[in-house]
Symmetry: C2
Subunit: 470 residues, 2 copies
């Protein structure tokens, strides 16, 4: 399988022709200014910015199909763009090409409250959707750190703090509208809650990072806003006991809605940035959803588990404002950490292991950080065995940069060796391609065969997941 080569290289003449065609068609909605192009390449980490040659602001699925057909005609790469918050270089244009900016496709097409689902255009962000839903007593639970677009979240199989209870994008997308590499518009899935009617194209496109299709509309499962919510904070004497409390919580079947780990460095950063006064110790942030009685029962059970591992006191945030402050701080953790080392760049890496290996993986990673004297914070959606390390380094110091890269590589190999994955939620992009062969073995060739079949010209976000030769 996967034998035919599909290398795509920069073709200046083809790009020039395609851009001219798109400018003629889209006028000022086809932009080629340097700053707008740079802003549509990768901007969030140390990965090099590789700007596209033009940015087209699309306003409908049909327009996206038109742009794709133009790119296909001239063999020019295209890169879908939502909010630009990807962390692994998904938006870069290593062989040049056209960025399709979907942010103007921000209409909420339908909310079917009676079916607990909705359909939105790809550019709608998670916060915009939740603002819209609030009055109907509904919410969409997936919450990556950024206020990402729902199309981008689908494309990277995003998750966040609620995944332990509500699942990831994989579990919450019912159907998609997407434009394939030849410009065909397809609808995958339906609003039925389950189906055995053929291949699960929805799940194939979720997580495909724009390499198979441009997602233009997303049909999502919604959840009812729980009748009762409580949140709390629980410090632990060390990282190991915090992790062990998480493992026991999950194993005992306690239906926590959120269970987030922050190491003491992250707590210190949050205290400073978000004006909290938490004890600077390894800490769990928790949230419980249910009825009044159910939530109280869950909290009691968690309190017992925490105590068993030497944690506590378990401090309640019962008021809505206190809860919001806590979760705001959690979502600001990335920005808070960046302040720990002024002028440094940060790289946030993401792995996920089976829950039984969590403490071991976190401890080994912590030891590695200490041995190498990194400034680094650890946070995690630990109920899923998923955690992130943010390493701060001086981008002008090649030794620091090399050391950081070495650390990230060791962390990824460690997670894979433990039966885990090199990314729980950030995706592969450019940054994690090197781990794919070891993680997937011969299955990587199956992925490559699918890519080559659905995108024979290798124009769909080339150089992501797979190298530029597909």
């Amino acid at each position: 399988m996967a034998t035919s080569a599909m290398l795509i290289a920069r073709d200046d003449a083809a790009i020039e022709t395609a851009v001219a065609r798109l400018m003629e068609r889209f006028g000022t909605r086809c932009a080629t200014g340097e700053s707008i192009r740079e802003q549509h390449g990768h901007t969030t980490t140390y990965l090099t910015n590789q700007p596209p040659d033009a940015v087209v602001f699309a306003s409908s699925t049909e327009e996206v199909a038109e742009i794709v057909r133009t790119c296909a005609e001239f063999g020019v790469p295209l890169i879908p763009f939502g909010t630009g918050t990807s962390l692994e270089g998904h938006l870069n244009a290593p062989a040049g090409g056209i960025s399709i900016d979907l942010s103007a496709m921000n209409r909420i097409v339908a909310v079917n409250a009676e079916d607990l689902d909705c359909t939105v255009e790809a550019g709608v962000t998670r916060m915009q959707l939740n603002e819209n839903l609030r009055d109907q007593g509904l919410f969409f639970p997936i919450d990556p750190g950024a206020d990402a677009s729902l199309g981008g979240m689908a494309a990277t199989r995003a998750s966040g703090t609620n995944a332990v209870r509500y699942g990831t994008m994989k579990d919450n997308v019912l159907a998609l509208t997407a434009v394939m590499a030849d410009g065909t518009i397809v609808r995958t899935g339906s609003r039925a809650r389950k189906s055995s009617a053929g291949y699960d194209l929805t799940r194939l496109l979720v997580g495909s990072e724009g390499t198979l299709a441009v997602i233009t509309e997303v049909t999502l499962k919604l959840s009812g806003i729980p009748g009762a919510v409580s949140a709390g904070v629980c410090p632990f004497p060390d990282v190991e006991s915090a992790c062990n409390a998480v493992i026991m919580t999950i194993q005992s079947g306690l239906p926590v809605a959120r269970i987030e780990f922050l190491d003491e460095h992250q707590v210190r950063a949050c205290n400073a940035y978000s004006k909290l006064d938490l004890a600077e110790m390894p800490t769990l942030f928790l949230e419980f959803h249910g009825t009044e009685a159910g939530v109280a029962e869950q909290a009691d059970r968690f309190g017992d588990i925490a105590e068993e591992f030497g944690g506590g006191p378990f401090d309640w945030a019962t008021r809505t404002e206190d809860r919001s402050r806590l979760w705001k701080a959690r979502h600001e953790a990335y920005w808070a950490s960046l302040r720990l080392k002024p002028a440094a760049k940060g790289v946030s890496t993401d792995v996920c292991v089976p829950i039984s290996r969590l403490a071991e993986c976190v401890m080994a990673t912590r030891a590695d950080i200490e041995e190498n004297g990194f400034t680094a914070t650890m946070v995690g959606h630990v109920g899923d065995g998923n955690f992130h390390v943010l390493v701060l380094f001086d981008p002008d110091n090649p030794d620091e940069m090399a050391a950081t890269n070495g650390f990230i590589e060791r962390l990824n190999w460690r997670a894979i060796e433990m039966g885990g994955t090199c990314t729980g939620e950030h995706g592969i992009g450019q940054g994690k391609m090197k781990y794919m062969a070891r993680e997937h073995g011969p299955a990587l060739d199956v992925m490559r065969t699918i890519k080559r079949a659905l995108d024979p010209g290798n124009i769909m976000n080339p150089g992501k997941i797979f190298t530029l030769d597909g």
Copy 2:
């Protein structure tokens, strides 16, 4: 896309050579007797039995790979076989070929209680697994009517009565071992609870019905046996009020573990077959999982909803024996219905619609049954909008058979028109191919492109999902 033809037709010489090779290699484990071949074709409904040319009993993934390589070498079709309980003709050999019987691959490879997961060979059945898990306080929730193999359940994206709470096979398979069309053994996914590392091959193979790969091992999520379980039965004055009570239950976010609909004909059949004494009215069977307090609260809330729609009394089955009797009767519903018309054949069809359309779809279907004077029962996993109709007809009466087919077609078009699917859980096989184009539109060509890329010789269960020309 999907332009190259890949018609496969019966090739006697190739089949003879492949069978000779397999007999030499597998001895008595390669069987060609007529009865064993017939038993490995389709046997459960009115679809014609099309036996394979030989049945090979495989005992390991490596042996499956060897059989696949032999089939690939000679261009001979292969059909994976678990327990033979498929309802849509998945096991038939319309172009001849080799049935790979996986029932001897029935080892439980690993139970990782601390991670709530396990790995089993494809031939392990759901009841065998649950027997094995019981002592550890764990269970696997997916329960199609038959005691199907877990490989077969993955291949058809099966579900059952617990899906409303625990999801379907799509949601409960973490990873797979599978043999691709060229004999390559792949491992998709990992034991990590979530991953964004490339294409979701696990979800692509779940529901692919043996047309892309032979699944040989399945890694499954497990659930803790709930601390408290209660079940109950609630009759309703008519079908509409029962459906409306279901809709309200789901919309209000009540986390029912099971909510099953039986129409009055099905209740009558169950009373006779399973020796129950239920009122012969449209009825819901329910089950609640949780803590003692949680379960009692859920039951109270359901009781209120039922009353609002004129249902009741809501009868409790608190004792384990009573609950078992109830669910045994539910799982025997198919056999019970067959007794309603002696010597008749039954055809069980399966659709799924958005929950808001459930009452409308069930009512229209009921009217169709009555207008045509069919002997038919309706049951449903209605919490997902999924229901089945079992029509009994005389297979020697061509008029009855044509009328039954016409009814089934109308039901499927109705479900698709309502934004639903032609199968919630039985799969496409041979029986539902005709609905694929209308349900999926241009997305069907995307499926076909994937099939052609991964199985260029069209040897993997040809004539299922797609016609014999792929």
